[in-house]
């Protein structure tokens, strides 16, 4: 399947342009098509010819300046495991935990497409949970002191001390 040249989503609009026997094809998703006003706002999609020409012309210009708009990640390589981004795109598997940070930029839209989210919700290892709880208690302690509620602050301080001994 062809993907939208602008955002990588599955494309639903396909343009073929023939000039002097040179054939050029473009693929867009509905959203990008709308953003470029190729489609009218009406229910039944109708092509807007002026916008169409506009898109084709700007595309010609950007093609001439050789893909400066979209960064090229294919050569991006992880120093830890040696995986190249291009290889990840063909195999679909990461090489090591560090890849999630190395390839973060192109990964975010990918995760958005797969999961409709880029942020974990749910279980965390015990050590992380403890850290998060300590951070939350600290925030509440600062707020209590600022509000001059010293009784609450004392209770929070005791709770924090307990967490400290629990985490060793």
């Amino acid at each position: 399947m062809n993907r939208c040249q602008f955002c990588g989503a599955p494309s639903t609009i396909h343009l073929t342009d023939i000039q002097n026997n040179a054939v050029r094809q473009m693929h867009l998703c509905e959203r990008c098509g709308r953003e470029r006003e190729l489609l009218s706002e009406a229910e039944s999609p109708q092509l807007n010819l002026t916008a169409l020409l506009q898109v084709l012309l700007t595309e010609m210009k950007t093609a001439a300046t050789a893909n400066t708009t979209k960064p090229n990640y294919t050569a991006l390589t992880c120093a830890d495991c040696g995986l190249k981004y291009a290889k990840f795109r063909t195999a679909g598997r990461f090489g090591c935990p560090a890849d999630y940070d190395i390839f973060r930029e192109p990964l975010l839209p990918l995760l958005e497409r797969i999961h409709r989210s880029v942020d974990h919700a749910g279980k965390a290892p015990r050590s992380r949970r403890l850290k998060a709880e300590v951070a939350e208690l600290n925030d509440r302690l600062i707020a209590a002191i600022a509000a001059e509620d010293y009784t609450a602050a004392a209770t929070l301080r005791d709770e924090l001390r307990q967490k400290d001994t629990a985490s060793g």
Binding site: D80, C81, L83, A91, G92, R93, F94, G95, C96, P97, Y100, D101, L107, L110, L111, I114, H115, R116, S117, V118, D119, H120, A121, G122, K123, A124, P125, R126, R128
Partner: protein, 356 residues
């Protein structure tokens, strides 16, 4: 460990008990976990894989898991034993035949908890429960996960959660599946429509053996697709809601079948028993289709001599590796079909199974 010792047991997923067991065969939850500071199994070299295996093995062996688990090195097993473990749903096909190098599985006597080492991820934790038991399965696997986490450092990211080799599993690393027996919906052809609507809400429908497998014997697995951005509890709740709806559809379809086509259904069940008890050659697929009809017959009380668990036993014993272990010889395709028919004839005669 001598695997033949498992033969008489049904294993947790085929126990045939548990809530809603008239439609729900089993509930399974798996968690994908990886060690921090190691390459994922897909990119680890032989040395690293051996290191990962021994670290994970130690963690699993020393973790406080109720009942205790015994470990089997899969790369050291003959192909028949590997296939046997696949049929019992203790390991994946990938771990059995696709992957290479040091890898294995640890599981308990009830075959309820199993942990694959060096599958696509370093650790694949799995809990099986008979019937509809998402909460119980989650409670159990959550504890196993905590017990192992006390022994090793998991790869965890503040934003992305538990890191996995494939970005489709990142976050919770959780895949929860419920295996359903839906013969009545299959008969009324409503099943396609149902599954199309499930895809729209991001649930996946698969056959008996997971991804890409065909639904043999009216058995379907429904599982979540999303692992990032939704908590485990939320995902389980979404699956529960959908399963409750499907159970209702299937039960209604069964009731309608009994009301409108009782005689025809009785005939179909009788013929299924007849074929199973008299064939001299039979494939695994045909066996599963016929057993599905018999299972429905038992649920609809069109047959009363057979307990439902017997069907589960016939179902597992007629699969290729089980059959060869029972017969004690290695058999090729044709021989297997003859042996399967012989086994079914004998068992059904012993059981005195006959249509009403």
């Amino acid at each position: 460990m001598n695997l033949d010792g498992l033969l008489p047991n049904l294993g947790e997923w085929l126990r045939g008990t548990g809530p809603d067991s008239d439609v729900v065969v089993s509930t399974r939850i798996r968690l994908a976990r990886n060690l921090a500071n190691y390459p994922f199994a897909t990119r680890a070299n032989a040395l690293q894989k051996a290191d990962i295996e021994s670290r994970c093995r130690d963690a699993v062996a020393t973790a406080e898991i109720p009942g205790g688990l015994s470990y089997l090195s899969v790369n050291g097993l003959p192909p028949l034993d590997r296939q046997f473990l696949v049929e019992r749903q203790l390991i994946s096909r990938e771990l059995s035949t696709v992957l290479e190098g040091p890898r294995g599985v640890a599981f308990d006597d009830r075959e309820s908890t199993s942990i694959m080492i060096n599958e696509e991820d370093h650790l694949r934790l799995q809990v099986m429960r008979s019937g509809m038991a998402l909460d119980e399965a989650w409670e159990q696997i959550d504890k196993v996960d905590d017990a192992i986490e006390a022994k090793i450092n998991y790869a965890f990211h503040d934003q992305f959660g538990y890191l996995t080799a494939c970005p489709t599993n990142v976050g919770t690393g959780m895949r929860a599946s419920v295996m359903l027996h839906l013969p009545a919906l299959g008969l009324t052809k409503e099943i396609e429509k149902l599954f199309r609507s499930l895809q729209k809400i991001n649930l996946v429908v698969r056959g008996l053996h997971g991804e890409g497998s065909r639904a043999t014997g009216d058995l379907y697995q429904i599982s979540n697709q999303v692992t990032l951005g939704k908590s485990e509890a939320k995902v389980l709740q979404e699956i529960r809601e959908v399963i409750t709806m499907i159970l209702d559809y299937e039960r209604r379809a069964r009731a309608a079948l009994m009301k409108e086509k009782r005689q025809a259904e009785q005939d179909r069940v009788a013929r299924a028993i007849g074929t199973l008890g008299s064939a001299t050659m039979i494939t695994s697929d045909e066996t599963m289709e016929l057993l599905s009809t018999v299972r429905l017959g038992i649920q609809l009380r069109l047959l009363d001599d057979l307990p439902a668990t017997t069907i589960n036993q016939l179902f597992i014993h007629t699969q290729a590796a089980h059959l060869q272990k029972i017969m004690g010889v290695s058999l090729d395709g044709e021989e297997r079909n003859a042996a399967r028919a012989r086994y079914l004839r004998n068992r059904l005669r012993e059981l005195g199974a006959a249509p009403r």
